[in-house]
């Protein structure tokens, strides 16, 4: 919302020396957010000039420029030794003798455009003759400003060349722009801003809705006294609402005013155009400008219909299924039965109530008779229509946030007065259908501010503040009855009023105190595990990244998932960032691979990444989540349904790497990263948590079927997979060949850990080593041989280490020899050679039984 300081001065006693920044600071103090400070950036010389000569000169490019000689008073002497200024101008809407506005070299126009003398079209142009748009006074840039037209002949009688035009046109006026939060709908008007300014600074406020006290330019019209209009033909209004939302009528007040014989072609006066421009609106025509002006002043959206297109009355109803309306923006809209419409007597839709009018009843150049609508529409109804039709208008923004239902009549009257005064019309009588529900007072404990804020607020201060913001306060006990003002529909309960009390004293008065607190339990086991998982991967050389969790459906094909793979079951977004990625990832690897590809593309050839994050694992039947009310805690069953509808989102960690694990150089050859690295990283993570993963061969997308390891807990629970990606997958994802990757379910790791490790006493007797070489068929995994050896060797086996692997002449075809070193140690004695040999034989026998191993 833009608030010109000069306009504000009409509504509040802004001190004469207050700057825009001062006004902004006062507004910020009571909770408006400063968005910017505009205007006031025009610098002279910007002066009145009289055109003495004007010669049209056709140019080769087809343009006709006008070379002018302009009297700019004594300013001319500075530049051209007393001669008149020679200025080249592109416009032709003026004549010799006209008074114009000249910016001379050295002057600065809005937006910081500095003007200099420049050579153009064969002349030295000493400045510029300005248009309204160039001066920030309006949208008109077709022609330059002719002051006699802009200000009227009477006002320009005393002007002489060289007079300062900055003061004349009010160009020094600053405009404060503030951001209005959704609860402060009333601040979408000068009336509201001025009230807040007065509240913040303690100066007097003059309510522009009080039409008995007329002040300022905005009401400087030759109007008949209030209520003195001709009482003929009050216009019929029929309010209907077949389907009120939540029991509230779509419209609880509708004022219809007819103004006849208006010269709608007349331009609105310069002061009005300037103000509209200052608040960011484009002046259009008298009828539109007046409705906008009143809206900006009072916050009440108005609509002007061409009366002659209507069939004799006006009213409201909800739309019918399939009904259509072409709105003012030229879009034909399919209406929804929830849309509240303004219709005429023959039931023809005229407007989506409170949002936008229809094209058929639009005020046109031929319009002479107007129907002015000032209504109060239900905020929810307007909000839904605006959202449904993606039409956020000045009107809908105000109705959604709550328009003062008590300002309706004043707004209608002011608009009528302006149209009569400026457009030469005559007004019919007033139709005011008023179904307003009386506001309810709230009981307010005057000690609540102290309880909430931690600062002492005496009862007197509380009551005074509430009255200052417009509340009626009754009762003289600790609990008072408070009736909030009509323009504050946001004040519903005690804490709402607490904020008013606190902000008027100032939030800067609130002391700083540390809350009592309690002895917290620190991080949970799961939180500690997560940090350790992340740190362990980083310490193994991987770099953490955080990717967006959005994927496209074809990713699952590229990853080679079978058609029935549960990882294809996911959550789809209704409004994704990109239509290419409307799904939520079901593995962290889904999005990590893209980060890897990007790094490689950017020249990081050796790259190892990891990410911890949530994935989604929707249930097969995904129920919709209920949306209960909020007056109370939902009952247990409803709450269970709400929580159950949220799909499970386990936390995973994924890693992916390509290039060299160890770089080559003078110290030795490079070692490319391989599938064993991926498995080792996973085992490293588990080991950091005190777990030893069971590794077995697996065939699972997106991994290479011969280079994929399943990683499990001792009880068989799958933790994840690691290995080399399938060559088709790396090709489809545009990753380097031999890229390795893994993914682990961190929640499984968390659940598997957390109970204390029981330490075993350490034996100080010496270890005994013995080696064994076993020949097994190729397909027998080393892990199976090792497991059998462990089982057969019994409790005094300390470790099993594979130290050699042999294929060749010494073993049968399709077999390999695995050489292990077994280390034994007893808790209570030095083991004898015979004991160790016996245990080794048992281990070998177990391996033979389990895997067909033959000792070499």
């Amino acid at each position: 919302m833009h608030a010109p300081v000069s306009w504000l001065r009409e509504l509040a006693d802004v001190p004469a020396d207050a700057t825009g920044a001062d006004v902004a600071a006062a507004l910020v103090r009571v909770g408006l957010e400063e968005e910017g400070l505009h205007g006031g950036d025009v610098r002279g010389p910007l002066v009145v000039g009289r055109v003495l000569e004007a010669t049209d000169e056709p140019q080769r490019n087809g343009k006709v420029i006008r070379w002018c000689s302009v009297d700019v008073g004594q300013n001319g002497q500075m530049l051209t030794e007393g001669r008149h200024q020679e200025i080249v101008c592109g416009a032709h809407n003026f004549a010799v003798g006209d008074l114009v506005v000249c910016v001379l070299p050295g002057g600065v126009l809005p937006g910081g455009f500095e003007i200099g003398a420049r050579k153009t079209y064969g002349h030295l142009s000493n400045g510029m003759i300005c248009s309204a748009r160039e001066l920030g006074l309006g949208d008109d840039h077709e022609g330059i400003i002719v002051l006699q037209e802009l200000l009227g002949g009477q006002a320009t009688v005393d002007l002489k060349p060289g007079d300062d035009a900055i003061a004349l046109l009010g160009l020094g006026d600053e405009v404060v722009e503030v951001n209005v939060t959704p609860d402060r709908g009333y601040c979408l008007s000068l009336r509201g801003i001025a009230r807040e300014y007065a509240l913040s600074t303690g100066v007097a406020f003059r309510d522009p809705a009080d039409l008995s006290v007329r002040t300022g330019e905005g009401t400087r019209v030759a109007e008949p006294p209030v209520g003195a209009q001709s009482p003929v033909r009050p216009y019929a209004v029929h309010l209907r609402d077949q389907a009120p939302l939540a029991g509230r009528a779509g419209c609880d007040r509708y004022i219809a005013r007819v103004v006849r014989g208006v010269d709608v072609g007349a331009a609105s006066p310069a002061w009005m155009q300037k103000r509209l421009t200052q608040v960011g609106m484009r002046p259009i025509s008298l009828a539109v400008d007046v409705t906008n002006y009143v809206m900006m002043l009072l916050g009440q959206p108005l609509h002007a219909f061409d009366l002659d297109t209507l069939s004799g009355s006006v009213g409201t109803r909800r739309a019918r299924p399939g009904e259509r309306l072409t709105t003012l923006d030229g879009v034909e809209r399919r209406l929804d039965p929830e849309d509240l419409l303004v219709v005429d007597g023959s039931d023809t839709p005229l407007a989506v109530a409170g949002v936008m009018g229809g094209a058929s009843s639009e005020v046109s150049a031929s319009t002479t008779n107007l129907l002015i609508e000032a209504a109060h529409f239900d905020p929810v109804s307007v909000a839904r229509s605006a959202r449904r039709h993606r039409l956020s208008t000045e009107a809908s923004r105000r109705f959604e946030r709550g328009v003062d239902p008590d300002v309706t009549a004043a707004a209608a009257q002011l608009a009528v007065d302006l149209l009569v005064g400026l457009g030469g019309g005559t007004a019919d009588g007033v139709t005011d259908v008023d179904h307003r529900v009386p506001r309810e007072p709230v009981d307010f404990d005057t000690q609540l501010p102290t309880r909430y804020v931690g600062l002492e607020y005496p009862r007197d201060e509380v009551v005074t503040t509430l009255r200052a913001i417009g509340c009626e306060v009754g009762g003289d006990g600790r609990v008072v009855s408070v009736l909030p003002p009509s323009w504050r529909p946001d004040l519903l309960d005690g804490p709402d009023l607490v904020e008013e009390v606190a902000r008027v004293r100032g939030y800067d008065q609130i002391p700083s105190a540390v809350p009592p607190g309690l002895a917290g339990a620190g991080l949970t086991h799961g939180q500690r595990v997560r940090r350790l998982v992340a740190t362990t991967l980083a310490q193994q050389g991987l770099v953490e990244v955080l990717t967006y969790p959005f994927v496209g459906p074809e990713l699952f094909d590229r990853l080679g998932y079978p058609a029935d793979d549960p990882r294809r079951r996911t959550v789809r977004l209704g409004n994704p960032l990109s239509e290419e990625a409307p799904l939520m990832r079901t593995s962290v690897l889904d999005t990590l691979v893209e980060a890897l590809r990007r790094n490689v593309a950017r020249g990081t050839r050796d790259c190892a990444l990891y990410e911890l994050g949530l994935v989604v694992a929707p249930r097969e039947e995904q129920p919709a989540a209920p949306v209960p009310g909020i007056d109370d805690r939902p009952d247990d069953e409803t709450l269970r349904l709400v929580l159950h509808a949220v799909p499970p989102q386990p936390r995973h960690v994924a890693f992916a790497a390509t290039g060299d694990a160890e770089a080559g150089g003078p110290w030795g050859a490079a070692r490319p990263v391989d599938a064993a690295d991926a498995v080792a990283w996973a085992r490293g993570v588990a080991r950091a948590l005190g777990l030893d993963l069971v590794v077995s061969a697996a065939d699972r997308a997106p991994w290479h079927p011969g280079r994929c390891a399943r990683l499990a807990l001792a009880d068989g629970t799958t933790v994840g997979h690691a290995g080399e990606l399938h060559p088709k997958v790396t090709a489809a994802l545009e990753l380097p060949a031999r890229t390795v990757a893994g993914e682990l379910d961190v929640d499984v790791l968390v659940a598997a850990t957390g109970s204390p490790v029981h330490a075993r006493p350490l034996s100080t007797y010496p270890p005994a080593h013995t080696d064994v070489a076993l020949v097994v068929p190729e397909e027998v995994p080393a892990a199976a041989v090792e497991a059998a050896l462990r089982e057969g060797a019994g409790g005094s086996l300390e470790s099993v280490v594979l130290f050699d692997l042999y294929r060749g002449d010494q073993v049968p075809a399709a077999h390999r020899s695995l050489a292990y070193r077994l280390t034994f140690r007893a808790d209570d004695r030095t083991m004898t050679t015979d004991e160790v040999s016996a245990l080794r034989d048992r281990a070998v026998a177990a391996a033979a039984r389990a895997t067909g191993a033959v000792q070499r």
Partner: protein, 368 residues
């Protein structure tokens, strides 16, 4: 070898001739001194201390002497052997020391050569800032609470007093989950964790809820559709806005530096009432708004940096979560982690944070 011979005249025995012994000693000392390697010294030892060395021979001859001569000859030969032995030991030590020193020199390795044997990885700075923030609050006795990223609309909006038709709900740029009516959204803030926490446990509640949130913003230098927040929630008897301010003051001083202070400004959030915007004094320009005569870039010249929103938990939110607003009050606040990271570490462009380029994370290491 000859046996004792009582008639034997020691002077007659050539090996025991004092001059010969002196000569043998001098020869030995000369050769020992001349030895420049341990091998040469070994040869000298064999020549002058070995079984066939003159002194060894002389020693053997002593037995053949008459008893009267034995003592003197023994003394002379013993002294000679002692001198040679001493010289050998000294030279041995010298040469060994030289050899050891030489080996160390020869073994010199240029450790300035960067051998990237197993380079360390790095954490993402967003994670590090998040953990640092968590630690600050855990140190104050708070706990860390978490929730899902795909969240029930009721928890993300309604229970936070953001009704379906409230303008604030439109301002949140929400990602909706298909099909329409699923009742699910990608959480737009970490505030639903507040509600979950209040539904799960009884006051007193002191929790911090960090996590990933989603808004349908386009990625640019200062915005990202996926970002991280942390939300603080305290519900207890007697909690006031002063406690909110005290908590925020303590927090910003621990994250941004001693002496940094906060300012509360009235604002509006549906889930808090009264509500406040949190600013903190710019620690770059000290709140002056200028740095060396030019406008401070960190705070844009205002002297204050906007950090986030806060307020007293709206009693409608307390009621929806089953907390008695007559007995308990609470405060809540929410701040952005990316924003904290950008401010604290001068990150100029959001792209660097979200694109997953390892060069970004590597700048930070594992502690921030």
């Amino acid at each position: 070898m000859s046996g004792p011979n009582t008639q034997y005249d020691p002077v007659e025995v050539a090996a025991l001739d004092p001059a010969a012994i002196d000569r043998a000693v001098e020869d030995a000392l000369a050769q020992i001194a001349a030895a420049t390697t341990l091998d040469q010294l070994k040869a000298a030892r064999t020549a002058h201390q070995g079984e066939k060395s003159p002194l060894a021979l002389a020693n053997r001859e002593i037995g053949a002497l008459p008893p009267s001569a034995k003592a003197e000859a023994g003394k002379r030969v013993g002294q000679a052997r002692g001198r040679v032995g001493h010289a050998l030991r000294e030279r041995q030590e010298e040469l060994e020391a030289e050899r050891d020193a030489r080996i160390l020199v020869e073994e010199t390795v240029d450790l300035t050569v960067r051998v990237p044997r197993r380079p360390l990885g790095a954490r993402h700075p967003v994670s590090l800032v998040s953990e640092r923030v968590e630690d600050i609050f855990v140190a104050m006795g708070w706990e860390i609470a978490e929730g899902p990223e795909i969240e029930a609309e009721w928890l993300n909006f309604d229970a936070l007093n953001i009704a379906a038709d409230h303008p604030a709900r439109q301002e949140q740029d929400t990602f909706f989950v298909d099909p329409p009516g699923s009742g699910l959204v990608l959480r737009t803030h970490t505030s639903p964790v507040q509600v979950r926490t209040m539904l799960e446990r009884r006051p007193p509640i002191y929790v911090l809820c960090p996590g990933k949130v989603f808004r349908t913003d386009d990625l640019d230098a200062t915005h990202t559709p996926v970002f991280h927040q942390f939300e603080g929630l305290v519900v207890d008897e007697g909690i006031t806005m002063a406690h909110l301010k005290g908590t925020l003051d303590a927090f910003v001083q621990r994250l941004f530096g001693a002496g940094v202070e906060t300012r509360l400004r009235p604002n509006y959030f549906p889930f808090t009432e009264p509500s406040a915007e949190i600013d903190c004094r710019c620690w770059v320009c000290g709140g002056s708004g200028t740095l060396g005569g030019v406008r401070c870039r960190t705070c844009g010249g205002t002297g204050w940096i906007e950090l986030g929103g806060s307020g007293m938990v709206n009693q409608r939110v307390l009621r929806a979560a089953g907390v008695d607003p007559g007995r308990y009050t609470g405060f809540a606040f929410g701040l952005g982690i990316e924003r904290s990271l950008m401010l604290r570490h001068n990150v100029a462009d959001m792209h660097d944070i979200v694109e997953g380029d390892v060069r970004f994370s590597r700048q930070f290491g594992m502690e921030i």
